[in-house]
């Protein structure tokens, strides 16, 4: 497909020298290119990518094409989709244009997903790598901490955090990051424990590499594949989380997000299905996109699965 073609092209231009050298030995390929090729063959991954690109276009190009202000009251409240030509997807409980809301809600939903996902992965990798690399007492202490965070029902804890602090989308992202890192930490730890005693790590140590260098420059790059897969899934989970909080009315009331639309339309569910169903469908589609891309990456990075 054109997108991966572009990626491969960009990659080739960057690494002229290695391509020329690779031509001498046609059988050896960079793992990155090989993974990209496998990703291209995975229908799940490509479908996910197409969905995400479509959503990104909808959210970022949409506002330029469809210039209706999402906060403006344009028609009678709870007009059904298709009833009036000027408001194709109907209006919400205040008479605001649903389509405009959907278009403008995407950016903030994606912002929360990416920020919270980034935070989750960062905390998870920090805790997991320390725990897996040093082992012993450090591992014991950090794993107890991880266990503690796994015991807390994440949504309730996030609800408390968002109640204590004013609910801006940044605070919401931080709250989601704080409650969701344990899974990433466990994954990172397992990868580090697997890799830390391999020969190339011992080799690095024998030439005098310090712990920091071994952790970040030797082990981490080699454990990236499963972490990237889990990161895409983490973004999806974060988006679902934000939607859940917004549904409970704990979102940022000043920012249009899909979750906020759902929270606002909650009481009209039986009278106006579209106020909930449409933003819910957008969230579903976005999370689906991320998890399909995760599936595709998993196939691409995992040579054992690839053979099947």
């Amino acid at each position: 497909m054109w997108f991966t073609e572009l990626l491969i092209l960009a990659f080739e231009q960057e690494t002229d020298v290695s391509t020329i050298e690779a031509e001498k030995q046609p059988t050896s390929q960079s793992p990155f290119r090989e993974a990209l090729r496998a990703f291209r063959q995975s229908w799940a991954g490509m479908l996910g990518l197409i969905i995400l690109i479509a959503i990104a276009l909808f959210s970022f190009v949409g506002p330029m094409v469809y210039g209706v202000d999402p906060f403006e009251i344009v028609w009678a409240p709870l007009t059904a989709p298709g009833e009036v030509a000027t408001v194709p997807l109907g209006t919400d409980q205040l008479g605001r244009d649903m389509l405009a809301g959907l278009i403008h809600g995407g950016a903030s939903t994606l912002f929360v997903g990416l920020t919270a996902g980034f935070l989750t992965v960062t905390i998870g990798i920090l805790v997991g790598s320390m725990s897996g690399y040093y082992g012993g007492a450090v591992d014991e202490a950090l794993m107890r901490l991880t266990e503690f965070f796994q015991v807390l029902p994440a949504l309730l804890f996030a609800m408390v955090l968002v109640t204590i602090f004013p609910p801006s989308i940044l605070i919401i992202s931080i709250a989601i990051g704080i409650v969701s890192w344990p899974a990433t930490a466990r994954l990172t730890r397992a990868e580090f424990m697997r890799i830390r005693n391999l020969e190339y790590v011992n080799a690095a140590r024998s030439i005098g590499a310090k712990n920091n260098r071994i952790i970040w420059r030797v082990i981490l790059p080699n454990s990236l594949a499963p972490l990237i897969v889990s990161a895409t899934l983490t973004i999806g989970i974060a988006i679902l989380f934000e939607a859940g909080l917004s549904f409970l009315g704990l979102g940022d009331p000043n920012v249009f997000s899909w979750g906020m639309m759902i929270g606002a339309g909650r009481e009209y569910i039986l009278d106006a299905w579209w106020t909930i169903s449409l933003p819910g469908f957008m969230i579903f589609l976005t999370v689906l996109g991320f998890s399909l891309v995760g599936d595709g990456l998993n196939d691409a990075f995992n040579p054992k699965l690839r053979e099947r």
């Binding site: 799940a44 266990e147 503690f148 796994q150 015991v151 807390l152 029902p153 994440a154 949504l155 309730l156 804890f157 609800m159 408390v160 109640t163 204590i164 999806g236 679902l240 939607a243 859940g244 549904f247 409970l248 009315g249 704990l250 759902i262 569910i269 039986l270 299905w273 909930i276 169903s277 819910g280 469908f281 969230i283 579903f284 999370v287 689906l288 998890s291 399909l292 599936d295």
Partner: protein
């Protein structure tokens, strides 16, 4: 290590986790902006100066922090979770009143997910490229991506308009008689949609997990041995493979208890199920802090107990873990 020592160790471990949750609750009260006494009283409680002075005295808020912490831990461990000024009742009573409904919902959903999920996974493993297998993958991807309250609302819309056979709100019909069986059937009837909504998410994951572990087990040596000595295909699936395939499903289910409780909060809100979730939602709207913290504590307690039970039962059931390391 013998099993008794192990159980004792797990219990100790669980107790430490409970203490940690309480310390976190204590920290949350103090992190919250404003006077802790007012936080405890709750913003909507309309607490008078007298009440605040009372709280300050009973929580020892004029004492050093570590004394306050000790007072708080002592109070909570003896069952005093504070007073809700919004509901004008002890938090413990409020929580105990609701916790049964949540446990009923969560356990029903999990059992449904485990049983149906494993069954689907086994069916799918029989023919890895067949229709069931594809269906399992499809359902798991969709079930995973749909916001749980959205699925719930779609079910509400469907069962409110199209086929009104299941009630969409509440836990029982107060107009029915108080007779035990009538009530039980009525509650079960109300339970169908919420449990289905909550269960679908996990059902999909368990089906996928059961399918993967069945495929792995079916390729193992001991299954080949069983086949070669002429054990029937049905017996291989049910007696030899399934036993091992269900273990990872049960383990994951135990570990996910916390996430299921989180999901229950949303599902309860959609279906007005009178559990901890709706209580949490109502007390959040009222900014009734003691109640929210009480719910956080109690639901963590539920998760800790569920993990403990899974862990111990698992070790007793599986001889490899019992004797190994």
């Amino acid at each position: 290590m013998n099993i008794f020592m192990l159980v004792v160790r797990r219990f100790l471990h669980a107790f430490l986790l409970i203490l940690a949750v309480l310390v976190l609750n204590f920290l949350l009260i103090h992190i919250a902006p404003g006077d802790p006494a007012e936080v405890i009283a709750g913003e909507m409680g309309g607490a008078t100066e007298e009440m605040l002075a009372d709280i300050r005295k009973s929580y020892g808020l004029d004492q050093p922090v570590y004394v306050q912490l000790a007072t708080y831990l002592g109070k909570t461990l003896t069952g005093d979770l504070g007073q809700s000024f919004f509901y004008n009742a002890p938090v413990l009573d409020l929580v105990l009143d609701r916790v049964g409904a949540t446990i009923l919902l969560v356990v029903t959903a999990l059992i449904f997910a485990i049983v149906v999920g494993t069954l689907l996974g086994v069916l799918a493993s029989h023919n890895p490229k067949g229709i069931v297998s594809g269906l399992v993958t499809l359902v798991s991807v969709v079930g995973y991506s749909a916001p749980i309250f959205w699925t719930g609302m779609l079910l509400v819309i469907m069962f409110a308009w199209l086929v009104p056979v299941f009630p969409i709100s509440g836990m029982f019909d107060i107009t029915l008689s108080d007779d035990f069986w009538t009530r039980t059937i009525d509650i079960a009837h109300h339970l169908v949609l919420p449990a289905l909504t909550l269960g679908i998410v996990y059902l999909a994951q368990y089906a996928r997990l059961a399918r993967a572990s069945m495929l792995e087990i079916l390729g193992s040596d001991y299954i080949r041995t069983a086949r070669s000595k002429g054990v029937s295909e049905l017996s291989i699936y049910t007696r030899h493979a399934l036993r091992n395939a269900i273990l990872p499903v049960v383990t994951i289910a135990g570990l996910q208890f916390g996430s299921v409780v989180s999901g229950a909060v949303l599902v309860e809100t959609v279906f007005s199920w009178p559990g901890l979730g709706t209580l949490a939602f109502d007390s959040l709207l009222a900014r009734d802090f003691p109640t929210i913290l009480g719910i956080l504590f109690f639901s963590s307690l539920l998760v800790i107990v569920a993990n403990l039970v899974t862990d111990v039962v698992y070790r007793i059931v599986d001889p490899r873990i019992r004797t190994g390391n």
